[in-house]
Symmetry: C2
Subunit: 393 residues, 2 copies
């Protein structure tokens, strides 16, 4: 029986630039921390628009630049200290998932004396957080409309996700035009990330699903398959950028299946990017088809076949096993040919030197529960499959 | 360019009965008004469960029974007066759309001295409202997850909808089992109402739509077409009831297209039920196919044909006009044969005696803007088409 509790109270302002940001920020406090990454938002004018809106509303902005991809807990600590020093009332993230995730934890860490890593690992509870506003610059993680964040401890090579209602953004500005400057490669990584949320967390499961929600998942995946290549070819195609952006937010805002899923590929990918600092979407793109191949058996083949039929338009009249194989091939062709992402870990310079530790960590606590329970040995086998273009089982 | 602002912050507790209702109500005040309708909720045990939960949490419940279908502004006034007398802190609606809509206006009217009709007609602003909780007993209006309400003034035969952020329910309990006792006729009316929200408000438009949202609309309509007949045949089929319930909430919670649509059929139906007090879903079922036939021309046929192809699985290879006609026929067959709803106004004892006034009122203010702008004469023609099984154009 389907049971869940859903609350997704982020206010979304879509397709309207940052109009209204000053008013929203002003209502939350006269002083805000403005977080961003490597400076592309300064070059493409988005930061200027944000600062202009704030200035006009009489809100004073403390800038916190330099948030890295796969953001570190040490960066969170620096941001939180700055919030306390400056007495800010709200945190504004201008960027993608990394900046938003970091800003969420800064907002929580600013309200306590704990080290951010203790909040991420739940050694210390998050009791409150400053309100967070986001200005999204890439369609990918869905962090703009959920209560989750992923932070990396570079010293220990640990990358953990945390989900806490205090981290839900208050207001998110989703302006598809702000993603016009996202490169084809990053657009492809974002598309892989969006697909992975549906695939990894909700769609592939032996648990009961609501038919309506499953239909929406397939609609969402078809949307990404259709519009990601268009956005790569025509970066200023509003329709493509708008569809990707809205699909990204809805892939993880709780609607598709408010029960948290298993995220097998995410667990395996977090190890990859904690050791190698690669783009999250790229790691997922390499892992997902191998994971499906590894899981595919008589019990699971029908769901994999259905994915091929309803997302890639494959022939429904085949046997389950033939259909499942065709689905995985169609998915590979989309990821590695249409999106042009790397097919193997070897291609991006990753060998098996850390596989043992990574597999151990990914499968900690009794394995990764999901479409199929994965032990340390299973994870090792899947990592090894990622080294070769066509890893035999 | 797609632009919208969306905030849907109702907390949904799905498939868990009324577990937690006492805690939620207690947090909102120690004294609540419990609104319901004709007493079916007392007979089927839902009211008992609600009152038990409240008692256990130490919340005192003032009962307000007898809310009628197509609720009256005079009922709202009585409920609001009771709230003020009893000093209640929150309003709980136990029922379907009529009870919820009435409870929303009670919650607003309780906070001011105005007559409820002045709030509905916007002669007086809604400045605040008591928090509203809902316990849903039929999948239909979507009122459990939106900020709208429809109230009737029986003296003047006016039925108006109002949409105001203060009316958004704080928490809604969606328990599919609570709809097991909904009759096949009411289940069919609910299904027609759900479809009407998508059809009338979002799907049929010449305005730009986000492809992703359009795909979700079609998924939602397919869900209703599939599960409504199952729920009619097997009233205790959880899967069918759960899919209908969730689809109903999402048909109107702002996600499908946060920009308010035109609701042509709703405007025409509100007149019908303001004069004749018929079931809203039944009135819509009679109107919708006639409206599509009336609107169908070269410019609009492609969208109507797409409806047939993507919702009813019709042949995509026909011409637009042939496909559009086939789509309307499939829709009629679903409403009048599969769901068994009445095909004509004549069958339910409605003649043309009030058509003039009704058309004038429905088209007030320059006509009904929507898929096609409808003047008073157009509305008259559509009403007349509803008298005969196959009204020629």
């Amino acid at each position: 029986m389907t049971q869940f509790t859903l609350q997704c109270d982020t206010k979304v302002i879509f397709g309207q630039g940052v109009r209204g940001l000053g008013r929203e920020a002003s209502a939350l406090g006269g002083r805000v921390l403005v977080c961003y990454g490597g400076g592309s938002v300064a070059r493409n004018g988005i930061l200027g628009a944000v600062l202009g809106e704030l200035k006009e509303a009489g809100v004073s902005a403390i800038e916190f630049p330099g948030i890295e991809p796969n953001p570190r807990h040490t960066t969170v600590n620096r941001g939180a200290a700055l919030c306390r020093e400056e007495g800010v009332g709200a945190v504004i993230a201008v960027g993608g998932g990394s900046v938003i995730d970091c800003a969420k934890l800064i907002a929580a860490a600013a309200c306590c004396e704990e080290d951010a890593w203790d909040l991420v690992t739940r050694r210390a509870p998050i009791e409150r957080a400053l309100p967070v506003l986001t200005v999204l610059t890439i369609a990918a993680t869905g962090s703009e409309m959920d209560a989750g964040a992923v932070i990396t401890n570079w010293e220990t090579h640990e990358k953990y996700g945390i989900f806490d209602a205090h981290l839900q953004p208050r207001v998110s500005f989703l302006e598809p035009r702000f993603t016009y400057t996202v490169s084809p490669f990053q657009t492809a990584c974002g598309a892989a990330d969006i697909l992975s949320h549906v695939i990894d967390k909700y769609y592939f499961t032996l648990n009961e699903k609501l038919a309506f929600a499953e239909g929406v998942m397939e609609t969402l995946m078809r949307t990404v398959v259709k519009f990601a290549p268009i956005a790569m070819r025509e970066p200023e195609n509003y329709e493509a950028r708008a569809n990707l952006m809205w699909a990204a937010s809805w892939a993880l805002n709780g609607f598709l299946s408010p029960r948290a899923g298993a995220t097998s590929c995410h667990a395996m990918e977090h190890e990859l990017s904690a050791y190698y600092d690669i783009a999250h979407g790229l790691g997922l793109a390499i892992l997902m088809p191998r994971w499906l191949r590894y899981c595919c058996d008589e019990k699971r083949a029908p769901q994999i076949k259905q994915f091929g039929v309803n997302v890639f338009g494959l022939d429904a009249s085949t046997s389950d096993m033939v259909g499942a194989n065709a689905a995985i091939e169609a998915f590979e062709s989309f990821l590695y040919e249409t999106l042009g992402l790397s097919r193997t870990l070897s291609e991006i310079g990753i060998g098996e030197e850390h596989f043992c530790e990574m597999a151990k960590n990914a499968a900690r606590g009794g394995g990764i529960d999901g479409f199929k329970l994965l032990t340390e040995e299973d994870v090792m086998a899947i990592y090894r499959m990622c080294l070769l273009p066509d890893a035999p089982l």
